[in-house]
Amino acid sequence: MIISIASGKGGTGKTTIATSLALAVSNIQFIDCDVEEPNSRIFLKPTIENSQEVNILFPEVDIESCTFCGKCAEFCQFNAISVLEDNVLIFKELCHYCGGCKIVCPNDAISESKRSIGKIEMGNLNGIEFIDGALTVSYPTPTPVIKQMKSYISKELDTIIDSPPGTACPMVESVENSDFCILVTEPTPFGLNDLKLAIDVAEKMNIRYGVIINQSDIGDNKVKEFCSKKGIEILLEIPYSRKIAEGYSRGENLISVIPEYESKFKNLYKKIQKIINSERVSSY
């Protein structure tokens, strides 16, 4: 079973929910897919045992063999190549490493070499198998890092995935193949707007989802009204607390700040298991 935690809007509490769930359940795999800003290890404090580079194939032009015909630049859908009179520039900020320029070059002037765009680390804590990854600053594409981490999804253990914010490719890559997606929001116009966007993605990808409202007593009632109108289950509400905010600032997990949340997250897990299982039965 794969449970992903996503949100649309950033800073709503994805990592708080994901790490609390992992700590409450234990005996689980945890993957932090927010490779642009990975923060879950701050709260889980795993012992790192392994690391590996994430390599991509990056094109290089051999200027001696290049005739400056411009076919590579013409082919590149991402405008990552600029052919000048006597030089060719390849912009790493735009390249998607598709390999097309190498294939299209009539003079075999383009070769590819491995380049590291990030790093994955794996570790452990009290029965939680931990994986996170960090995109190297100045590279634009988090998806290869996310893909590589997801290739380690456990066959024995259930997996919790902490997704990056937003609703574009990094989020899609992270939540893909999830059995259930927890969408974390806050009861504000920003929270509601971005929740709707995240729901659109979950529905388009046919992923079952439910909502957690964080800081549930701030803002207004519109998130709740929206959910009840659409028949969306509100899995959990977490009221604002200065104690939680201060604990968070120091890297303390919600469960260690307010221990009563442990049983709430255990119940949340059971609830999600039940939803997934009932769906499996009903689909026969």
């Binding site: 642009e36 701050i42 859908q77 574009a168 388009k204 600032s249």
Partner: protein, 290 residues
Amino acid sequence: MKELVVISGKGGTGKTTITASFASLAENKVMCDCDVDAANLFLLLNPTILEEEEIRFSKVANINEEECNKCGICEENCRFKAISDFKVDPIKCEGCGVCELVCPLDAISLESFTSGKIFTTTTKYGPFFYAKLNPGAGNTGRLATEIRNRAFNLANENGSDLVIIDGSPGIGCPVIASITGTDIALVVTEPTLSGEHDLERIIKLTEYFRVKTFVCINKFDINPEITKRIEKYCQSKGHMVAGKIPYNPVVTEAMTKGFPVVEFVDNEVTDEIKKIWGLLLKEVVSPEEL
């Protein structure tokens, strides 16, 4: 004319709250929201839409079943694992065109599709551009660039002094597209271990692109110790902490009512935002003075 971008690394630190307040405080400017996959600034600027335009620069491969002889060369060459069983998964396809290039039967073509909309609008604060991305669509960097270009061109035509850009969280494509070539970046952070960690990564990025960087610490009183550490860090890197905003629930209240906070209330929060704006304005007008 100058471009000011508001970014954060970590999400939810208050970028849009600050941007909307700048929109209210600044004169003779154009605004745009480059957080294309979770745009929120329009909720505070209350725009009247003048033009709505479909964006069609995303492409996806399509295999013509009748012409395909299932040789599998496309699947072999696709680096995104988007082809299996001689079908293209539109979510995985990056629209690179390699399959079209390698297909010996010309059975594959790249097709444009609508990945969202760009809105040209007017607000009581001035012209404003934003986008709505279709669920799960890609190409956010390109879209952010497109929106920025429109704001930039209009500002040039109108003789505006400034473009204010609301950025997205993270350090990836849309963020890089939002900050490259801008004059000033204001990084909004918070005094939490996560905020601190993400601040260091986003500052590496602004330094890489050589954008003059200012930092604003939001909710600074949540953890005075980390606030001090962030101030020290910024000082060591030569970036000015332009201001420290205290935590105050009125910020959420203003957002809920749909106002930039500086128009909603007069208190220590808005005093600080005005102070930050004053500092940045000096930078916009005459950078030598700082």
